[in-house]
Amino acid sequence: MEHFTSRISRKLVLYIVLFSSVITLFLTGLQLLLDYRHGLQEIHQRFHHIDITNLESFRQAMWTIDKSSLQIQMDGVSRISDIIHVEMLNEQGKSIAQSGTYEARDTITHEFPITQLYRDREIPLGTLIVTATKRNLYQQLVDTAVVILVSQAIKTFIVSLFMFFIFYFLVARHLDNIATYLKKLDLSRKPTLLNLDKQRNREVPDELDQATDAINRMTSNIYQSYEKASQNQRILAEREAKLSAILESITDAIVIANTDRKITQVNTAFSELFGYAADEALGQTTQFLYANPDDYLAQQTERFNTQTLNRPSLYEISYRRKDGTVFPSETMGGAIILNNQNPIGFIGVIRNIEYRKKSERETLELQKQLHSAQKLEAIGQLTGGIAHDFNNILGSIIGYADLSKHLLEKSDNEKLKRYIDNIDTAGERAKNLVAQLLAFSRQTPSTIESLDLKPVIKEIITLLRPLIPSTISINTNIQERVPRVCMDATQMHQLIINLCINARDAIDSHGIITIHLRHQQTTNTRCSSCSEPVSGDYVVLAVEDNGSGIDPDIVNKVFDPFQTTKAVGNGTGMGLSVVHGILHNQNGHILVETRRHSGSTFSMLIPPCHEVPQLDNVTSGSLETDKHFGDNKHILIVDDESPITSFFTELLEGFGFKVTAVNDSREALNLFHLSPNTFDLVITDQTMPNMTGTDLFKAIRKINSSIPVILCSGYSKQVGEKDALELGFSSYMHKPIRKKELLKNIKTALNALPAPDQS
């Protein structure tokens, strides 16, 4: 049965049926029209028949006014086929007789005038009106139509069926085979030839044979073309895949647009960068991507137009993400030009340089900080370098000033005494300056102790009050429970005083200085001087003023040495540098907040102290007046500076010591080696040619492990006080050395000696 589902055959039958039906309907209509006319003609013939056969009888009856005869004749006429009504009107138009039933619908009426030739005159006797119905005609037409249509339908059905089978066997089944062959055609394999199930006329092939040959040639050609196309498609697909992979592998956002600047392709990096899914961007102009709408038009003029053949070039421009945020970019944008013809579109390769810009800013900032740190470090090194020599020089100046003052104690030469006092004062100032430099470079010797800052602050306020005008109030804001800090008390004084003096100078006439003390946790802040990140548990001692504030241009330079806004002679410019050095030497930091014309706050962040250092409570007592303090103890003094050894020799011999001064450390060692038990104490400089103080100490201790040794140093990077004590030195003295300090340390060293053997 599936063979008979041929659509073409069914269509053929359908068309035959339709066409045949139309023709049948037309011919049937024509036939009915002719039959209708014929029927009308027959009715009129009946009228004519009445005229020639009955009218004379009617005339006679009307002439004789024989109504019964008239009625009989009318009844006879009314029985004629199709005649339904006969009526006779007299000459006056009055109905005098009728037969049948009159109907107005579907009827034909014919009037017969009845006259009599009487005495050469035509005398009207009346009018016979005969009415015929067309109903019979219509019924006949219906019967005829039914017969014609039914017979035509049967004929059409039979003919169609016949044509269906003929067409199927001659054409449709072959077309079906061709369709099946073409459906199964797999162009990826070499196609088999199409053969139809029919006898082939080799000399005169029919249309199906020709079609078969054409299809076989066509499939062969298509197969060859398909092979080529498949190959090209594979190559193209590989290229597209590579291109797509390249686009997707690029971490920069890529936007490809047509010549109308409507986006046709984007990569994944685009979606990640801008926040737009590809579907949201495709089809839109690139205008929505620009942070500044004017850039869109500017780029149109400069780069993205079809009039100029602008190859992609690099430029920086800002874009806007979907979330509204703007980011800077480095974009490679321009026209896509195919075969040096007109541009086929535009491409933009967008690299987000937001982090690079930030990194550049941070790098610049770090470079500034590094520069600042390097500058501080250089100053520190410079300071350390010269401090030794300065201290040696100052040691001689101050030492001899002390000796001179000692010699002139009983002299009346007041003028000379004043000169020596001036020398001593200048030496002391120079000593302080060197000490500040060393403090800044964190190389100052200090005595660390556990300090409660509350009484320190009160003590300092008392000391400060004379230095601060009465128009400036000093307030405190001190938290009740604040941990102790590990600081040198003197240095702590120096820190607070330096900051308060600066606060005073920042206030023109009237103002308030507030000293805050609190314990707080500090997080995510940065030291204003060293720029290091600061976080942790700190005791904060802040000095706040409501003065002029600090100019933003110099706020980053306030910790630089010799940086001052004060008049010449009013400040050394070392105040905040010393603060920086002392604080950082104790792992502290400082924060600066300044408000233009509203004042500044310098907050010192000092780590709380958990260990309480042991203080050396040795006092010099009245050593300076005890002329027999030396008790003829033998001291070996080693220093490459002869003024120093001379000063020490003269000073100590004045106090009853026996002194052997040597300016070469190796000579001193030899001397000690020859008579190790001769000496009670060794005082040595650290920095000396040929052999340092520590090397000499080690060598002497090998000879006499119990002899006390005091280390003196103008400045040494290698050995500080702590190092010296750990090595076993009795004490450490920092040049220039005052008489008092020297005697105190000598006494401490000698007191530490083991008791002499009583036996």
Binding site: W63, T64, I65, S68, Y118, R119, I123
Partner: protein, 246 residues
């Protein structure tokens, strides 16, 4: 100008000749009258005879006579196609045919007698009530009376022959029909020995001659001529001749 002069020349001649021509025509004028009747023989024969006498008697009138179907005769006379109708009951005719004018003198009376095999004394239609009675279509005055009496049986037939055949066959006891028509039919059917006319007549009506109104001026002449024929015994003579022929 010549034509005008010619016309003016002949005008006085025409004015002299015209009265002469009119006077000559009037002297020799004769009115032709075609008078019809709806009666059939022998009555029509009687009428023809009387009209022949009138034609003779009236020198300025020329009468032709024709027998027509009864109603057609009236219609044609009323339409003026024919000139007169002979003869009808005056009061009946004048109602339907207004253009026919009667001549006052009557020369014939229509009589309807009962005819039967048995001569019983029948003096009115009521006397016929116990019997089966018939009549002939056409004479409405007789037919209506027969129908009115509500006789034992009533049969209205088409022709006098049918009526007398039915009497002969004893299907009717009596038939009411015109006297002359009955006698002629009995004679023609050879039933004179079996069927008799019973006297007196049940209906007797005078009939009048009618002329179309266009001939109204001739009515006095016809009246005078008919009076003359009645008075000189011509009418009776002609009627007697008719009865003798039946």
């Amino acid at each position: 100008m010549a034509d005008i002069n010619n016309t003016s020349f002949f005008r006085p001649i025409w004015l002299l000749l015209l009265p002469l021509l009119l006077a000559t025509g009037a002297l020799h004028a004769e009115t032709r009258l075609h008078i019809t009747t709806g009666f059939t023989p022998p009555v029509s024969d009687f009428f023809e005879s009387v009209l022949g006498e009138l034609d003779q008697l009236m020198p300025k009138v020329s009468i032709t006579f024709e027998v027509l179907p009864a109603e057609r005769s009236l219609i044609l006379a009323n339409q003026g196609i024919n000139d007169g109708e002979c003869c009808r009951i005056a009061d009946v005719i004048q109602a339907e045919y207004g253009k026919l004018l009667p001549v006052e003198s009557s020369f014939f009376s229509a009589r309807f007698n009962a005819f039967g095999k048995i001569k019983r004394p029948i003096n009115s239609f009521e006397d016929l009530k116990p019997y089966t009675v018939g009549s002939v279509e056409g004479w409405k005055i007789a037919v209506n009376k027969v129908n009115e009496i509500n006789a034992k049986e009533t049969h209205i037939v088409t022709t006098p022959e049918q009526l007398f055949q039915m009497i002969k066959e004893n299907r009717l006891d009596y038939g009411v029909v015109g006297h002359l028509s009955g006698l002629q039919t009995i004679h023609s059917l050879n039933l004179s020995s079996e069927i008799h006319a019973i006297e007196p007549p049940l209906i007797e009506k005078e009939l009048r001659l009618f002329l179309h109104e266009k001939h109204q001026y001739l009515i006095p002449a016809f009246n005078e001529a008919i009076q003359q024929l009645i008075q000189d015994g011509t009418i009776d003579r002609l009627y007697t001749q008719l009865l003798e022929s039946l």
